[in-house]
């Protein structure tokens, strides 16, 4: 039986799951790229606040409703969606993990993590659309993404707990300075594929 595919799109992506329509069509089994809360037709979360990783809950519920979580599920995360995909993989809910530009930006020191949280808070606080009830999709608050989570120790420990195969696809848009160093942290087998454009991602995911 062919594995199912669950795609977790990037935070604030105006195309939401629609960006992955070609991949969903090309995947040989069941495939779903749900619009996450606050994107597309999916309502924002209660209270209109988002956090890094909450897409893991929303995407998994969408997959459960679609009936594609009963065994072999490949979870693909794009950019911030990669962190949510990694949580699902760490929790044992993915049979394989695919990260598209999802290995993360340069590591932050603790001072930088705190400074980035303050930056994020002040940007959102100064943006009236981020505080007002969300009336457009994607929710304007998502334009600010999330405060950094890129603490080397935390992410490395999370990745050491991921034992399923990992396929990392890096495009020219990737923020990761050294993908090989990041991939060395996973417990299971890893594959790195560099592609020249976003359009080449589908072929890299679907290839046997």
């Amino acid at each position: 039986m062919t594995a199912a595919l669950l795609v977790i799109h990037d935070a604030g992506d105006p195309q939401a799951g629609g960006r992955w329509a070609e991949l969903v069509d090309a995947w040989p089994g069941d495939a779903l790229a749900p619009a996450l809360p606050g994107h597309g037709e999916t309502p924002p979360p209660t209270g209109g606040h988002y956090k890094a990783g909450d897409a893991a809950i929303a995407a998994w519920r969408a997959a459960q409703q679609a009936g594609i979580t009963n065994g072999d599920t490949v979870v693909l995360g794009h950019a911030w969606g990669g962190f949510a995909a990694e949580i699902l993989a760490a929790a044992g809910r993915a049979s394989r993990l695919v990260l598209v530009d999802g290995l993360g930006p340069p590591w932050c020191t603790f001072d930088e993590l705190v400074a980035d949280r303050h930056r994020w808070l002040r940007e959102v606080f100064a943006d009236p659309a981020s505080l007002a009830p969300p009336s457009t999709a994607p929710d304007p608050r998502l334009a600010h993404a999330y405060p950094s989570i890129w603490d080397r120790e935390f992410i490395s420990n999370l990745r050491r707990s991921i034992k399923v195969p990992v396929l990392a696809i890096e495009t020219p848009a990737s923020p990761t300075p050294d993908p090989d160093e990041r991939l060395a942290g996973y417990a299971g087998p890893v594959t790195l594929v560099n592609v020249a454009s976003r359009e080449a991602v589908t072929a890299a995911v679907v290839q046997p």
């Binding site: 809360p37 979360p45 209660t46 209270g47 209109g48 606040h49 988002y50 956090k51 890094a52 990783g53 909450d54 893991a56 809950i57 929303a58 998994w60 519920r61 949580i87 699902l88 760490a90 929790a91 044992g92 809910r93 603790f110 001072d111 993590l113 705190v114 400074a115 949280r117 303050h118 994020w120 808070l121 002040r122 959102v124 606080f125 505080l131 007002a132 009830p133 969300p134 405060p147 989570i149 603490d151 120790e153 935390f154 992410i155 420990n157 999370l158 050491r160 707990s161 991921i162």
Partner: protein, 295 residues
């Protein structure tokens, strides 16, 4: 029941994305002191201290129910978020003619420090009541796979089951007493009376959102806490109780190290108090608060 004055005014602040319950005492023209309760508590935790802040110290005392607690808005489906709480409280500060003095207990003590760090223009000084964070070993994640699995499973469970229903408010007060052994029963009953609502089958449920118990797979550790404390420019007064309490987790050496991180801090051990310093020793708390405000 405790014989405490009712708040002078109750309000609901519409923050756009959520609503925050406010309880006020004293003249609103006086400088504001914002009181933030601990986790699973609510704003009526301050019913003893707030009237004295209003009358003895001539301040506008404002207590809130933090989001997910009391009468305030509910939490997102993925559970609580520290930046979300900071943003909510920054918006409340903005409505109180900042800069505002912040007083926080336990979880609220951590929150007032984070608000002061992120929004120094909104806060003139900070009082922390036994809220300098969990001990370092409690923040060490041993098994990320288990944490991630538990987070997802617990979110599913709460989504499926909803809040637990109890037969009586007295039963809930006793349950509170069982886990807060130093908190007098009258206070447990007070907190339960104001912190419960009718359940769907005729019993009672806590107003606190069960989603508050969800942790988050995000970085949070001792070093981050200390890095944050180093950025706080306002004067900080930290109080801790001298009595053993199951909710006062921090070892003296860890507390001392964290206190060292603040550029401007005074620390006072309060004799005869455990975790609920302001409830157990209100006279000493008011005395120290008055002196700190007059500095």
């Amino acid at each position: 029941m405790l014989d405490l004055p009712q708040p002078d005014r109750a309000g609901l602040a519409d923050l756009g994305r959520t609503t925050i319950r406010t309880w006020e005492w004293g003249n609103a023209a006086n400088p504001a002191v914002l009181l933030i309760h601990g986790g699973w508590d609510h704003g009526r935790m301050w019913d003893g201290l707030a009237p004295r802040i209003a009358n003895d110290l001539q301040r506008h005392a404002v207590a809130v129910d933090v989001r997910g607690h009391g009468d305030s808005g509910r939490l997102p489906e993925a559970g609580p978020s520290w930046p979300m709480f900071i943003l909510d409280m920054a918006q409340i500060c903005q409505r109180l003619r900042p800069p505002v003095t912040l007083v926080g207990h336990s979880f609220g003590g951590g929150l007032v420090l984070s608000i002061a760090a992120a929004f120094p223009e909104l806060v003139d000084r900070v009082v922390n009541l036994d809220g300098l964070g969990p001990p370092p070993e409690m923040m060490q994640v041993q098994d990320h796979a288990a944490v991630a699995a538990h987070w997802l499973a617990d979110a599913d469970r709460i989504h499926r089951e909803g809040p637990r229903e109890y037969r009586s408010i007295e039963e809930m007060a006793q349950k509170r007493k069982d886990i807060n052994t130093r908190l007098p029963y009258e206070w447990c009953l007070h907190m339960a009376s104001h912190g419960t609502k009718r359940g769907p089958t005729g019993g009672f449920t806590w107003k606190a959102d069960p989603l508050f118990r969800l942790g988050s797979p995000e970085p949070f550790n001792d070093e981050m806490l200390v890095a944050q404390y180093r950025t706080i420019r306002q004067p900080v007064m930290a109080l801790s109780g001298t009595e053993p309490d199951q909710w006062s987790f921090l070892q003296p050496e860890d507390r001392a190290r964290r206190l060292d991180a603040f550029p401007d801090v005074e620390h006072h051990p309060v004799a005869g108090a455990g975790h609920y310093i302001h409830v157990e020793q209100p006279d000493e708390t008011i005395k120290l608060l008055g002196a700190f405000l007059d500095k």
